[in-house]
């Protein structure tokens, strides 16, 4: 007998969680199934809505202003500005550790590559790093952490024209951590003020770090570190550091695995749980039953096929990175329902010659109608009760536009709400 729910969401990334939360808030009985770890841990944890237009205009100060000018097939155009705003407001309620909701205007945040990027919401732990803030800035990196080379990032930010002085210093993280210690190890040590050995003496890692940071600070009003400042209690770690250092502390999001991404994922799962949703992870959805409607999907559990049925389904399996869109030498396809994915037959048309050129592959995904139902090649919904959200959608290049999180949240919100309304 199948496991039943009103709404079944497939995928546990930003889009899946947004749609699950939104459906649950509508009062539906929602279940979320997700396979592997989501791509949130590969993302910065910043929430972009729109940083650049598809023509490359930007950085945009107000992302909402640009929505009416987007191409027809862009997910934001399907939803409309108001829906995008409602979705962001749901995000603001749920992710209460995020900032930026006080204004429509984009923020500029320093990146680990030394540039700045426009983003709509940022974790409170990144707030003191705003690039439009003109307080001088000290960046500190750790010798054994090659992803964030503070003097290089500082020099790059200066070349980017930031309106403040910025200096970078590199120190050794207290204690003899292995050179390949994971970021979670740093985060835990700082969170627990865990013991490390410094010159033959056992110390708390956070205390020892403060001692190394203090002499570096000159006149700066803020200090930026790689995003390893705690795991579950990042705010506590930051507060402790700020109390000792006497200046504001922030994190610069770094390469995967991203602590800010992981923290956001944890927070959203919590929120979904609080809203009464069920979720399970670790097993893939591999197939389905149904003709005009999806009746049941099958989850592969150690070679057993477990049926899950629902009134409404949301496909939030991700794009090429998350494997919600796959390809072989001849085709690009959506692997679960085989929804239509528009692409050239010649795979040499899938990319541009320049590394940052206009890459058609970046727009691969299913094309939906206004209700976010994926359309077949003739333009009719593939299934009455299947909606898609997030990177599995085509028609936009989130990397170039800096719109990935916003599209995921907005389409997730919309798909979840519609699914819940129809299921009840």
């Amino acid at each position: 007998m199948a496991i039943e729910s009103d709404v079944l969401v497939i995928g546990g990334g930003l889009a899946g969680l947004s749609s699950a939360i939104s459906a649950a808030r509508e009062g539906a009985d929602v279940r979320l199934v997700t396979y592997k770890q989501s791509t949130l841990r590969q993302a910065s944890g910043l929430i972009d809505v729109l940083g650049y237009t598809p023509d490359g205009e930007g950085p945009l100060t107000d992302p909402y202003d640009a929505i009416p000018e987007l191409p027809d097939e862009h997910p934001y155009r399907l939803l409309g500005e108001d829906t995008v705003r409602e979705a962001m407001s749901m995000f603001d309620e749920v992710a209460d550790t995020y900032r930026g909701g006080h204004t429509d205007v984009n923020a500029l945040l320093p990146t680990y590559g030394g540039t700045v990027k426009p983003t709509a919401r940022y974790p409170e732990g990144a707030a003191a790093g705003l690039a439009s803030d003109d307080r001088d800035l000290l960046l500190v990196g750790f010798e054994a952490m090659p992803d964030f080379d503070a003097p290089h990032v500082a020099a790059h930010l200066e070349a980017a024209g930031v309106p403040f002085d910025v200096r970078g210093e590199t120190i050794q993280f207290p204690g003899d951590l292995m050179d390949d210690a994971k970021v979670t190890r740093y985060a835990k040590l700082l969170e627990n003020n865990g013991p490390v050995e410094v010159r033959g003496r056992e110390r708390g890692a956070r205390d020892a770090l403060v001692e190394r940071l203090n002499p570096l600070i000159e006149d700066e009003g803020r200090i930026g570190l790689p995003a390893v400042l705690g795991d579950a209690d990042a705010a506590g770690v930051r507060a402790a550091l700020e109390a000792e250092l006497g200046i504001e502390v922030f994190e610069v999001p770094a390469t995967p695995p991203s602590m800010p991404g992981v923290r956001l994922e944890d927070r959203l799962f919590e929120a979904f749980d609080e809203a009464g949703g069920n979720f399970e992870s670790g097993n893939p959805v591999v197939s389905f039953d149904g003709q005009d409607r999806v009746e049941t999907v099958y989850v592969d559990k150690q070679n057993a096929r477990i049926p899950y049925s629902a009134e409404q389904f949301v496909l939030a399996t991700g794009g090429l990175v998350g494997k919600g869109v796959e390809s072989d030498r001849e085709h690009v396809y959506e692997p679960i329902f085989d929804c239509h994915v528009e692409h050239s037959e010649d795979r040499y048309d899938w990319f541009d010659e320049a590394v940052f050129g206009e890459h058609p592959f970046a727009g691969f995904g299913v094309d939906p109608d206004a209700e976010l139902r994926p359309l077949d090649s003739a333009g009719s919904p593939e299934f009455e009760n299947l909606r898609a959200a997030g990177s599995v959608l085509g028609g936009y290049d989130f990397a170039a536009e800096k719109s990935g999180s916003g599209v995921s949240i907005a389409t997730g919100y919309h798909a979840g709400r519609l699914a819940a309304q129809e299921a009840q």
Binding site: D48, T61, T103, L108, K117, P118, L130, P146, P163, A399
Partner: protein, 582 residues
């Protein structure tokens, strides 16, 4: 004639660098100029096969004999560049029995150790071979790292006093009274170790003798002197797999054909190749069907290749040459032998010799012959020692040991570093500073990267060929910015690489890595490409780097909600206004 003749070598591929080393070891004064990086041309674009000679044992026995001879020499003098994988010529049911026998006889005639093994035995050695392979001939093929080999030759040449100038294309030959007396080069950036951002310039380098070892470009150098060198460039594609599906070299045992070899190489396997004449060695089509042909044909030998992940494809150009009277129609018929064209004898133009044709495996022998010829020009007799004297890094290969403890490296990282560095491992890896892994796919540590920067300056592509950093699964997605950071603020030869230099090198490597990956964009590699794109464009905003122009009006953006007690920026959100608590 001066007692120390000055020889100028054009071309920093295996042949040119071999000549430079040989002549420098014979105490001649040598300058080598190369238009790009070392290995920029053909050498850097081969499948890394150390021939046993088996491949030529039927069609070209003279080449086959040279191959097995040099195979033995290189195992000895370049042990840290060679992996003796062994090789097999495998026969499929549809391949000719007669040819199989000919191949076996040919190997024996050329003194190539060859053993016939059953299909079953072949599959025991290589479990992923097709089930219907009849039998195979096992031969001592190997894998060789052309980058490491050329770099070691260059290091040795420099130790013997040679001057090596990369990124310095020859713009003219200096000819006086009907004799070649030197070259004019253009330094793409300042002379010496390559530096971005420093203005280059032209330099006239006078020499007593010029050796044109520019391979597929030899004809273009000849044109500068008004002599005709009919090199016939022939392209071949190679497709790189993300893992080694086989650990020995797999050749198909049939007369000739495209897509008939798989070479295990470091962490990858390389599928090769095609053979098609092109007009211009710099500019030729790189086509989808060539990549498909590799996979579709070689899966007949190793079926799992059909589903396997390719990480990129690249094309190389063979500098084939045949004497004018032969006139082969098909490039596969052109001999792989090399030719020494003394332009004094041939064209009445003293002062220069060109070397054309040949094979990577016999580069040292070619260098020896041409160095003999150069010495002859000066009437000096000095013995070649390159067949005995190990290359730097291969002096004492017993150093290959477990470096995990000693350098605090994880075991596979330590093992791979030591394999790459050979006997230079101690010198490079002994550091008191943290030595984290910079390139995780290939296990390249900071110490190796810094060592490569010291050798090659600000060119991250040159760092790449010395270390393999950015050559693994992610094709630089995770490490290119780290490499740029390693470059930043590093001081080499009195020059400190600033942020602008690091950024330019970063962009260049990113684009170079993209170039070959384009030919592998489906399946997992397309997924990887999207991730790389997202990391660079979304997370770092490198596609809109304000440092590259387009200044930003910072004041127009969110200044934070509590910086001045007032919300920053322009509008208060329409969806409920300001929130409390911060």
């Amino acid at each position: 004639m001066a007692s120390t003749p000055h020889v100028l070598v054009i071309g920093g591929g295996s042949t040119g660098i071999g000549i430079a080393r040989d002549l420098a070891m014979r105490d001649l004064d040598v300058t080598l100029v190369e238009q790009g990086n070392l290995t920029h041309g053909t050498t850097g674009r081969m499948h890394g096969l150390l021939h046993s000679g088996g491949r030529y044992a039927v069609s070209d026995q003279a080449s086959a004999k040279e191959c097995i001879q040099e195979n033995r020499v290189l195992r000895d003098i370049a042990s840290h560049c060679v992996e003796m994988t062994g090789g097999m010529f495998v026969k499929r049911p549809e391949d000719s029995e007669e040819y199989f026998q000919k191949k076996l006889d040919g190997c024996r005639e050329c003194d190539i150790p060859a053993e016939v093994i059953s299909g079953e035995e072949a599959r025991k050695r290589e479990p992923h071979l097709a089930k219907d392979i009849d039998k195979a001939i096992a031969v001592p093929d190997g894998a060789i790292d052309p980058f490491r080999l050329v770099v070691a030759n260059a290091a040795s040449a420099e130790q013997h006093g040679a001057r090596i100038e990369t990124h310095s294309p020859v713009t003219d030959l200096l000819i006086e009274d009907g004799e070649v007396v030197g070259v004019e080069v253009e330094h793409k950036s300042g002379p010496g170790i390559r530096v971005h951002g420093t203005e280059g310039g032209t330099e006239e380098i006078r020499a007593d003798y010029v050796v044109n070892a520019s391979g597929a470009w030899a004809g273009q150098i000849g044109d500068m002197a008004g002599v005709d060198i009919e090199v016939r460039p022939s392209k071949g594609v190679m497709t790189i797999m993300n893992i080694r599906q086989v650990d020995t070299v797999i050749n198909r045992c049939r007369p000739k054909g495209d897509a008939d070899i798989v070479v295990p190489h470091e962490t990858t396997a390389i599928l090769g190749t095609t053979d098609e004449e092109v007009e211009d060695p710099e500019d030729y089509p790189e086509e989808q069907w060539e990549v498909d042909l590799m996979i579709d044909t070689l899966k007949e030998l190793v079926p799992m290749l059909d589903e396997a992940r390719t990480i990129r494809s690249f094309w190389g150009v063979r500098p084939l040459y045949e004497p004018p009277d032969v006139g082969s129609e098909d490039p596969t018929d052109i001999t792989r032998d090399f030719f020494l064209l003394d332009h004094e004898e041939r064209d009445d133009l003293p002062g220069m010799t060109s070397i054309v044709g040949g094979k990577f495996t016999t580069y040292r022998l070619m260098a020896e012959k041409i160095s003999d010829h150069v010495c002859e020009q000066f009437g000096i007799e000095r013995e070649c020692r390159t067949d005995e004297e190990p290359l730097p890094g291969s002096e004492d290969f017993s150093v290959l040991r477990d470096y995990m403890e000693e350098f605090g490296l994880r075991s596979p990282v330590g093992r791979r570093s030591v394999e790459r560095l050979g006997s230079r491992a101690d010198e490079v890896l002994k550091t008191d500073d943290p030595n984290p892994v910079i390139c995780e796919c290939e296990g390249v540590t900071r110490a190796e990267v810094q060592d490569a920067i010291e050798q090659s300056g600000s060119d991250l592509n040159a760092v790449r060929i010395r270390t393999r950093a950015s050559m693994g699964n992610c094709q630089g997605g995770m490490c290119v910015h780290r490499l740029a950071s390693e470059l930043h603020d590093t001081r080499v030869d009195g020059q400190t690489f600033d942020e602008a230099v690091a950024r330019e090198a970063w962009d260049e490597l990113l684009q170079e890595r993209w170039k070959g990956q384009r030919h592998a964009l489906w399946g997992q590699q397309l997924s990887q490409a999207m991730l790389n794109y997202a990391l660079h464009a979304t997370t770092q905003n490198r596609d809109n780097d304000p440092a590259d122009g387009n200044p930003i009006d910072f004041a127009a953006f969110d200044a934070g909600s509590d910086a001045s007690g007032e919300p920053g920026g322009a509008d208060v959100a329409a969806d409920g206004g300001e929130r409390d608590g911060y």
